[in-house]
């Protein structure tokens, strides 16, 4: 069985040129937690997720997944890839290949654990056992019958599930999602987030999601981290986050 993952984020700061994006962020995320990053746009939610995925590296401070730091391997290709493969990431724009079939998109999530040629062969024609693996995953997400359809023939919500399937096919130890429901209606948003919770719980994965809808976060997540202008405003169990805190978090600068 997979040992649940642990994140340690310690005094992390990042700026792009003169602009400070994140300053002095410290967080610990334990196994089986579900955490929502909330806050106004530009608060640094996406950047924090990207730091946690090893996509960007902090100017100062450390980000450790199970005691190993991303920054320490940032110039060692194969070790960085191995660490990145442990983090499943669902992108806001899905980042799928629209003119390939669902099965090809999902299979490409597992490339990190395959050799170059077998990965290429799987892309052209996935072998039977692999197809079965993909199918059972898609069935779990409720889109099994779409396995051989082109992604661009699917609805937004279905594409979202394909993106989730690709991230899960990676066999990650943690699941991150950046504004996963920003382009679906409230009912579907809720259903999708519940589904993400369910599959993360089945696999004992910590789930970390950025959401601009704080009410949705309060209803579904165990823990909420409020970000504003690159700083943590609060880090509380969701049932202790009251409306006053949220109003303060989303208040316009000069209001």
């Amino acid at each position: 069985m997979i040992v649940p993952a642990q994140y340690r984020i310690d005094r992390v700061s990042l700026s792009y040129g003169e602009t400070s994006v994140l300053s002095d962020i410290s967080l610990a995320i334990e196994a089986e937690q579900s955490v929502a990053f909330v806050g106004p746009s530009g608060a640094g939610k996406t950047t924090l997720l990207r730091l946690m995925a090893g996509s960007v590296f902090p100017d100062s401070g450390t980000i450790e997944l199970d005691g190993r730091s991303f920054a320490a391997v940032c110039d060692r290709g194969s070790e960085l890839r191995r660490m990145r493969a442990e983090v499943g990431f669902v992108h806001q724009d899905y980042a799928l290949v629209p003119n390939l079939r669902v099965v090809q998109n999902v299979v490409s999530g597992g490339f990190s654990r395959r050799g170059f040629w077998s990965a290429l062969a799987d892309l052209v024609m996935p072998k039977r056992p692999l197809q079965q693996e993909v199918l059972s995953l898609l069935d779990r997400l409720g889109i099994g019958e779409k396995i051989f359809q082109r992604v661009d023939t699917l609805s937004g919500g279905q594409q979202q599930r394909v993106a989730l399937a690709r991230a899960l096919f990676q066999q990650p130890r943690v699941l991150l999602a950046d504004e996963p429901v920003s382009s679906v209606d409230p009912t579907r948003a809720r259903a999708l987030l519940e589904l993400m919770h369910a599959v993360a719980a089945e696999r004992e994965l910590p789930l970390v999601v950025s959401l601009h809808d704080a009410e949705l976060a309060r209803a579904l997540f165990g823990r909420m981290v409020g970000l504003r202008e690159g700083r943590i405003e609060f880090d509380l169990p969701a049932d202790q986050v009251d409306s006053e805190r949220l109003q303060a978090l989303y208040a316009l600068p000069n209001a």
């Binding site: 990145r84 799928l96 090809q104 990190s112």
Partner: protein, 262 residues
Amino acid sequence: MRQGLVLIALLVVGMIAYLALDLDLGGLSPTRGGGDLLLEFLGAAFKPAFDYESGAVPTDWNPFFYQVFAGLWRTVVFAAAAIGLSLVIGFPLGLLASSLAPMPVRVSVRAMIALMRSVHELLWAVVLLAAVGLNTAGAVLALTIPYAGTLAKIFSEMLDEAPPQAFRALQLAGATRLQAFFAGLLPRAAPDMAAYAFYRFECALRSSAVLGFFGYPTIGYYLKLSFENLHFREVWTWLYVLIIVVILLEAWSSALRRRFVA
């Protein structure tokens, strides 16, 4: 705005060139004999030849329609061989000329591509004709050098313009750059690349036909012979056959394109 200035600049350059050449459009009016020949030539368009125009054809010559078919076949084969080889060479060069390749590689490959492209296929044919004689491989090579260069240039631009989200996402998922390229970037550029390669096949077909003027056994060779013998109806037969093939290819490629892109 910028584009408008470029167009105006081109027009101005055109006018200066017009003056520099001291063009006299009156010189375009044909001489009396030339006019008759022109009329005869245009008239032949309505009655293309279905057999040799000359009555005195040696008995061991193949029938005319066989000749047409064989000439056409060789024209297509030359073009297909050249495009096939151009793809094999042009694709890796395109990848190396794209922004995916490290700077020094990209710059030197782009310079090489520019060299290949800057000399027209007919000039390559002249050079290779002098170097290796009237040789099938020479003709294919003459087409391949500039075509591989052009494919490489356009492919590299298409790869650079392809949406990179999936390419980046796969790398973030632990795939190598090359894996992410084949799974996330190439599929997005592939429909455009295939359509463009098909368009270049059309161009190769025309170039292959013209190569016949140098003595290679493509349509151009027979076209030239017929023309020199003033067998204008035969000339039109060759032209019509070429036009039909190009139109068929065009229809096929646009059908494929609709399927790829839609």
